[in-house]
Each structure stands twice: as C-alpha cells, then as structure tokens.
Assembly symmetry: C2
Homo-oligomer: 284 residues x 2
C-alpha cells in the first residue's frame, strides 16, 4: 500500500501516523475536522499530507483507517464513500463493533473493501499530544469480518496491523462486543465506581492510597466523552456483564457478612481468581 489515509488525529490516529511515518514505506495522509488540529499535525510532522478536506485525504489512498469516535463513524463514512478509491481497504479502530461493522459495511458495499478492526491499544491519555509510535507494539488487534467481507480485505487488514506491531485475533463483531464488555467496558465502569465510592464514603481514603488503587482505577481517568459513546453503543452487553458482576459481588458479600465466615468459600473465591488471572496471557 503506497498511500494510507487516517481519519482523526487523536491518540490512536496520531500514533498510527507516527508509526507508519517511522516505517517510511508509504505516504501518510491525515484528516482532521478542525483546522487547529491540522496545524498540530504539521507541527508534530506526523503526516505527509494533513487537511480538513476529506476528498484530498482519501482520494488516492490504498487504505483508509477511521480513527474517529464510534458515534461519528457513519457520518464521516458517507463523506468518504464519495471519494474513496474503488477497492481500497477501509477499516476502523472503534471499540464497539456490531453497529459500526453493519453501518460501514453497508456504506462501502460495492465501493471499497471494508472490514472492522479494534486495536486494543490506548491509555488514559488522549489526543495527538499523547501519540506514540510504539503504542501498537505487541497489542492485540481484533479484526471482525462478517459474511459480506471480501477475503482479501481480511488478509490485507491482518497484514496492515501486523505491520504496525499488533498480534491479530479474528472474532465476529457480536462476539467482540460481548468480550470487550467483560474485559474493557466493565472494568472501566467498575474503576469509576471504586473512585466515586471511596470519595463518597470516607474523606480520608485518598490520603492513604497505594499502587494497588492506582492500578485498579487507572482506566477511570480515560476521556468521559469517548467512554460515554462506547458504553451507550455497547449498552446491552455491558448491562448483562454488569448484572453478572453484581451477582458475583453479592455472593462474596454474603460470605463476608455471615456470622461465621465460610473459610472454604472465601479461599476458593480468592484462589480461583488468582489462578485464573495467572493463566491469562497478557500481551506486551
């Protein structure tokens, strides 16, 4: 691929641009909605072309990567569809996939080869200012084809994400949404609840926090606008994950509140959690 268009100069779009520029194998064109953002892109020198003109950015691109918030994808996609090079690879980095895949799949049908992606990279920091060429190194990228996806779109997207340092996993969009509800969206909501709960219950609590609380709640410092969009988009899966978690916590609550704590049940809870977590193969 000679020219890659990236739409949206946030943490993910910016990091992707930096990585591709570093590799130097293609021209990087970066679209931003605001003129100030284009100026920032130029100052950071992370793209060969930077513009608010979507036609200029996508017209000659062999691949187009949507790095805009999930709720903005469809609107931007309608614009892109007018100018996209026939047969170009189109993908996105959205954290929720079922609707994005259905919508963008439909919009690009017969015009370009769309397949959904979700690189599990990011941090609580946001914007081009936090962009880092190494953001994708060793990260898992989930590619979410459906029955309408062109087979070479899957292989091209896989190659693309490998190229920027990811390991690639393939999942159906609905399966993806159920999984990330459990391992990303639910932990986000819970981190927020831990912070809000401690603040509400005891004014001294934050004066004694250690590295455990720092790590347990790190994700709660993520951007509220982005997370509101993700949670709204994946509300059904998150609600179901949340119900199961509340049931699990209520189970433990009964163990702890019993007149005589059931030692065996308490130990089993902690030991199973430990051995289960110790077996997880975390990337990086």
């Amino acid at each position: 691929m000679k020219r890659i268009a990236i739409l949206g100069p946030g943490l993910l779009g910016g990091s992707l641009a930096l990585k591709l520029r570093e590799a130097g194998a293609c021209t990087v064109a970066l679209w931003a909605r605001r003129a100030e953002a284009v100026e920032e892109i130029r100052q950071r020198a992370c793209a060969d072309v930077a513009s608010t003109d979507i036609a200029q950015v996508v017209r000659d691109a062999d691949a187009v990567v949507f790095c805009v918030p999930v709720e903005a994808m469809a609107v931007v996609a309608h614009e892109v569809a007018k100018f996209v090079k026939p047969g170009a690879l189109v993908t996105d980095v959205g954290s929720v996939k079922a609707r994005v895949v259905a919508e963008l799949g439909g919009i690009f049908q017969g015009k370009a080869r769309f397949v959904g992606s979700h690189p599990m990279a990011g941090s609580e920091f946001t914007g081009l200012i936090s962009a880092d060429a190494r953001l994708f190194d060793g990260a898992t990228c989930i590619v979410t084809p459906d029955s309408t996806t062109a087979p070479d779109a899957i292989s091209d997207a896989t190659e693309f994400w490998h190229g920027v340092g990811c390991r690639v996993v393939r999942l159906a969009a609905e399966e993806h949404d159920a999984c990330v509800a459990l391992i990303s969206h639910l932990p986000h909501v819970v981190a927020g609840a831990l912070v809000l709960n401690a603040a509400a219950q005891n004014p001294h609590a934050f004066s004694v926090v250690g590295p455990g609380f720092r790590d347990s709640t790190r994700v709660a410092s993520g951007p509220p606008e982005m997370w509101a969009g993700i949670l709204r988009e994946n509300a059904a899966a998150v609600t179901s994950a949340l119900d199961a978690l509340i049931a699990k916590l209520t189970e433990l609550r009964h163990i702890l509140a019993a007149r005589a704590v059931d030692e065996q049940a308490l130990h089993a809870y902690l030991a199973t959690a430990k051995t289960t977590r110790d077996r997880i193969n975390f990337p990086k």
Copy 2:
C-alpha cells in the same frame, strides 16, 4: 536504634531487612518460624542474625517489627512479650489494624512501647524471593496510635518508617480499617470478581485482553491465604464498602439499561470519576 528485630521473612519483612542492611546503621535480626526460611535468609544475606528462636532474635532489640500474617500476630506477640527489652519500640505491618492494635497494645502494655503501622507497600508477588530494598521508597505508611500509645512511640515509629523511605500518615485504627476497605480490600475483591466473571461469561474474553484489564485486575494475583485473612479480619468494613459499591454499580446499570440512555447522567458518572481520580495524589 542499634538492633532491630523483624519477625517474618516474607515480602515485607524481607524487604525491610534488605533496606536496613543497605543503610547499615543497625544490626538486623530476622525471625522465621521454619528452619528452611532461616536458611533462605542466610543465603540471601539479608540479616545479621537469622533464627527460629524468638528469644534470640528479640532479646536485645531496640525495635521489634511484626511482619507475620494478621491472624498470627497475637500468638507470636505472647512469645515476644516474654523476651522483649523493656521499653523497646514494637510495631507491625498488618493490613488491618483495629484488632491487632487492641490485642498487641494489651499484650505489650507495661512491657514495651507498641504502636500499629501499615506500610502501603507490597505487590502481587510474595515471599523473600520477591523482597526488594526499594519496596518502601515513597510508599505511604499509616501509623495508628490510640489513647494508650506513648507519644515517643509515635515519634520513634514515624522516624523509623521515614528512615526506610516512607511518607507517614497518622490515623486511628478504626479509621484506617474503613479507609483500606475502600481503597485496598474492596479493589482486591472487585479485581477477583472481574476475572471470575469474564471467565464464566465468555471463553474468548481472555484472548483479547489489553493493558487495561491487566492493570485493573493485577491485585487479584495476590496470595489467597493472606487476603482471606485480611478480608475475614476486616469483614464488617469490607461488607459495608461492598454494599455501597453494589449500589453505585446498580445506579449505572439503570442508566445503561434504560430505553433511552440518560446522556447527562452517564457523562456525569464518567466525568466525576475522572476528575476525582485525577485529583488523587498517588505516592511514588
């Protein structure tokens, strides 16, 4: 203080011994229950004296630091009380304080100067093998005097923890237990629930975990025996913290499950969690 006795060669006792040896200002005597542990201490060269004989370890010590599990404190304290040097400073590193302070305060009354401590250091790794002289660097240590504590015990304990690199905060034992329930024990229980819940709900979930889930659940890899002891010991405060957390999560569940998501309420939840967390002054 010329001679310091440390009881228990685990992560905390071992790290403390290494730090004091590194500073080189005093003799370090380390007690272990098992002969194999004494052998390990000798191999690691982290104490001047290592023994299973508690009399030999504590007899001439100017300070005695209990680094045994909370449920073992009282039993060991009765032994120590027979041999402790009159007026020696006695403290501990227990994660739960109300009962330890009442029990050890009573046992050492008129024999030595006891004050409770809780250095908020540690990790999911355990044992002498994970000991690290830098473990206490920048960590918060909570000192928990009560009305019976000798004032110079407070100042001596404060100086001691400063000396190994901690910043010291003073809290009543009950206040301590309420705070750590919120910022340490509850996050531990929740991290376990996140792991168990994901494992139970979707077998693919762990194939797509990223750094967020790794950090959110890190503490769940801690030692189950130790954590069972802590949770049992602080069951009332943890139960109350858990009830408040479940109420907070249920609130969010209703926002997400509504036919039309209340955007303002969702944003307020996420934004307040973020700004509250961003204001926390994490040590290190």
